[in-house]
């Protein structure tokens, strides 16, 4: 099981903050593709990804038990 977290505009687009997905040995890219299919999420294209609270790239591998967060353009400070 992979836990997916969505924030800010992405969360509003999905209507949920947290999603659980199946699968192992998947890339971040493949997780994104599934999310686009199921939730559309126009803001996903410009979002960054993190696995277990560290920024990662799209080709990085997501393992079962990981938390994947999608992070739309930030605006803290």
């Amino acid at each position: 099981m992979i836990k997916v977290l969505l924030f800010a505009k992405l969360q509003e687009e999905a209507g949920v903050h947290e999603i659980e997905l199946e699968g192992s040995g998947r890339t971040v890219q493949s997780v994104k593709e599934q999310l686009v299919q199921e939730y559309r999420l126009p803001s996903l294209e410009t979002s960054m990804a993190a696995i277990n609270e560290e920024f990662v790239k799209e080709e990085d591998i997501v393992s079962p038990g990981d938390t994947v967060a999608f992070i739309p353009p930030i605006s803290g400070g």
Binding site: L5, F7, A8, K9, E12, T46, M48, A50, E53, E54, F55, V56, K57, E59, A69, I71, P72, P73, I74, S75, G76, G77
Partner: protein, 157 residues
């Protein structure tokens, strides 16, 4: 210096408190930055703001910024508190305090921290205007993010 120097809170921030966390006998300078909610941005009137954070990751990124600061200014100490939730005009959204033996480095390190917060810390603000709302975010800021990712030791492709 034992207490939590990096915090995300839904309560008003005490500047005195954040400053106290970096006060040390060996320092002669403390630069503090307070980001407040501004009423007007490019002529548009903000009614209030709402901040959201990916809390555990935001705190990790504050610590990452501290590591970067220590590389550049080894004598610096840093504390950051960012507020989330609904903020009114003039409320403090973020307070950054940096102490150093001499003042030049305190200003420089503080400004560096603010720039990095805007680049790598997962916090978002939603603006509320008379005629609507929007999550604010600058896509351009993904460029420094790429640099942050590469720092993790991965090769460029």
């Amino acid at each position: 210096m034992d207490e939590r120097r990096f915090e995300i809170t839904d309560q008003p921030i005490s500047v005195e408190e954040v400053t106290r966390k970096v006060t040390r006998r060996e320092c002669g300078a403390i630069a503090t930055f307070i980001g407040t909610v501004r009423e007007l941005t490019e002529g548009k009137r903000t009614l209030k703001l709402e901040y959201e954070a990916y809390k555990p990751m935001a705190v990790k990124m504050f610590a990452e910024i501290e590591r970067e600061v220590k590389e550049k200014w080894p004598d610096a100490a840093l504390a950051i508190t960012h507020r989330i939730g609904v903020l009114e005009i003039s409320d403090a959204a973020v307070v950054i305090a940096v102490s150093t033996p001499h003042r030049k480095a305190a200003y420089e390190a503080n400004e560096y921290v603010m720039e990095r917060i805007k680049q790598i810390v997962p916090i978002w603000k939603k603006e509320y205007w008379d005629d609507g709302t929007a999550w604010i975010g600058d896509q351009l800021e993904q460029v420094p993010y790429r640099k942050a990712v590469k720092k993790e030791g991965e090769a460029d492709d």
